[in-house]
Symmetry: C2
Subunit: 394 residues, 2 copies
């Protein structure tokens, strides 16, 4: 095993009503003027924004607000945030929302630390960030894991490009994780979130090259646990215990833990989904489950031992005479699970049906975004990408 680095500096404050500690935590971190960044009016209507404001006021922290972040967050909103923060002298970012909101705050925070350069250049991978203003994340859905991760994904809505940038500088200073904030989420959002959590670990699991057994053991335990509670939440969305479980799993699935010592990550499914998100604005987690079965069947033979292990240890299928058959049973069991939680397993179930021209655009765009190739289970080129889109579209 070649080695790895692991760095998760985010201070996690987990539990019911922890959201009321926002002001105290910003103050302890030295913040004086906060941008409360959010998405839909849901957080206004359900009183969450007022709770955050009250907490800041109690701690004597000034703030401005900027809502309207959309899923697949827009570069234009990032630019609006940058301008607002510069004008108002904001020195601390407090995103309250899903992964989109936290990712948008990260982009703003990178820009504030580097007034001379355009932030989109980071997402184009033309340069690295010079710094990042401090961020305290208040996630309202268990999904992206952005509250502990180094990752931020932004969509340039003019060019339809959805691009990610990863940097340890962007890891939030603290994360206030209050599972009760997720109790009223619509089922589709909840389950798309669970699918995203699973995929963050699966992207690290389905790879070739060296591994640590301890990392596999943690990854498999996480996957089994999330699948168990995802099904419980599908039947009983108000189950607080299940909300706790998937919320904490969501952070662990994407903070690096489940990939320590793995030679590579795959993240091809994510890259293929990014293009769908950019072009059709689909829900990220649902886009992932719509792509994964096609991807899995396409790369199966190039990463067979991992698919066999996944089938046995995670999906707990009976071993078959041929490894490939065992692996296929595992993929089928995963599809059955996706269906049980109401997630799509192909593009038709996702509600889109790209033309051959659109598939060409998606494959071109994906290949361009990854610099030609992506994936460790199988290194995919532009033709492979088109083939997987076609397979998912059949």
């Amino acid at each position: 095993m070649a080695g790895f680095t692991y760095y998760t500096p985010t201070r996690v404050i987990f539990g019911k009503d922890t959201v009321d500690r926002a002001g105290e935590l910003v103050k302890a971190a030295g913040g004086t003027k906060v941008l409360i960044h959010y998405g839909s009016d849901r957080v206004v209507k359900n009183g969450l924004l007022n709770r955050v404001k009250a907490s800041l006021e109690q701690a004597g922290i000034a703030f401005v607000t900027l809502g309207g972040v959309v899923p697949n967050p827009h570069l234009s909103k990032v630019r609006e945030g940058i301008e607002l923060c510069r004008r108002e002298g904001v020195d601390f970012l407090l995103p309250v929302g899903g992964g989109s909101v936290i990712d948008s705050a990260k982009a703003i925070a990178y820009a504030l630390a580097d007034p001379e350069n355009d932030v989109w250049e980071l997402y184009e991978h033309k340069r690295r960030a010079r710094g990042c203003f401090p961020i305290g994340a208040i996630p309202t859905i268990a999904a992206a894991g952005s509250e502990m991760s180094d990752s931020s994904v932004i969509t340039n809505e003019q060019t339809k490009e959805k691009r990610g940038y990863n940097d340890d500088l962007g890891r939030p200073l603290f994360a206030i994780m209050d599972p009760s904030l997720t109790l009223t989420l619509p089922d589709y959002q909840t389950e798309a979130g669970c699918a995203d959590i699973l995929m963050h670990t699966m992207e690290r699991y389905f790879t070739n090259g060296d591994k640590l057994e301890i990392t596999d053991a943690l990854a498999e335990g996480l996957l089994r646990t999330v699948m168990h509670y995802a099904e419980i939440l599908h039947a009983d969305p108000g189950n607080y215990k299940a909300r706790e479980e998937v919320m904490w799993a969501g952070s662990l699935a994407h903070n690096g833990l489940t990939g320590c010592g793995n030679t590579a990550n795959d993240f091809a499914s994510h890259r293929l989904e990014h293009e769908l998100g950019g072009l059709y604005d689909v829900t990220h987690g649902a886009g992932l489950t719509a792509i994964w079965p096609a991807w899995a069947r396409y790369v199966l033979k190039d990463c067979l031992p991992r698919f066999v292990r996944f089938a046995l240890n995670v999906m707990q299928v009976e071993p078959q005479a041929a490894d490939e058959e065992t692996a296929l049973r595992g993929i089928e069991a995963m599809e059955a699970f996706y269906h049980r939680i109401g997630m799509p397993t192909n593009l038709k179930e996702l509600g889109i049906h790209p033309t051959e021209e659109e598939i060409a655009w998606l494959a071109d765009s994906c290949a361009a975004a990854v610099g030609g190739h992506v994936g460790s289970a199988k290194s995919l080129d532009r033709e492979d990408m088109a083939n997987i889109y076609r397979l998912a579209n059949a």
Copy 2:
């Protein structure tokens, strides 16, 4: 579940030859004058100290050295380090050694940040630390997990008191984890280290009150993995893959991960062992395995569901008609494992045989150290402590 905080800011640099990056990492952290702190002459003789010095020199970092830290590290050595660091203007601590060396460095680092107060007061729990000088840990054994933990244990050799102090301020800034440094460890040290790793997670596992299933899944995966590789190392000490596995597991077992969401920790076995360590200077991990079976049988009925779960999920014994019988099979399987890796399961096998008077001293000292009671599996008072020492002594 009442909630939890999780905070592991230590940057982990893991892999072969990472030790040569010490200078670069100290420099990036802003250190200008380093104390290289170490234990026995082993690190001098095997060339490790020279590698660390060369790395610092290459980065233009000045340093002084202080060796002679012993297992169950002494307060007098801590005081010697404080004096040396103040005299030399040291601003960065670089412990190179086992948990004892890292713990000793933490004590020095607390003292340097607070010149007005005596550091032993922290370990007497009379006050909290005001700060902590930055620490970069280079562990040479997989065991204590001190390289990522908030914990430090020091022995006042005059009073024979072994006392711990926990503080997030003491978590090292970085940890250089090079498994190849552990390849030449004697078997007894290796296996005592594995026993310590297991116990750090078991102390969080055998508790009453709420739990997160995701935490249990991670804990059980970690325990099974460490037991597997501990046996491999007993037969094949030069197995680098196994060294990697237990080294990373050692950090995860004690950085807080395996206790997230658990209502309480137990740590009674640790506390009972601390007294043995203070009085007889036994190897910590071996002291733990010598105490644990007596502790387990003594508290079994008060924490039965956890012992049953441990027996089934970790020790993988066949379920018996009565839960208590299943639980007992789990304890017996653990004793058999301890024997297979050459660890003691009682005080006689540990090589000590306390008199009834000594047991009274041990129980008094332990009760005083914990303020009367310790434990979550069962809350132990002074009489319980004496009974467990007697049981282990039988």
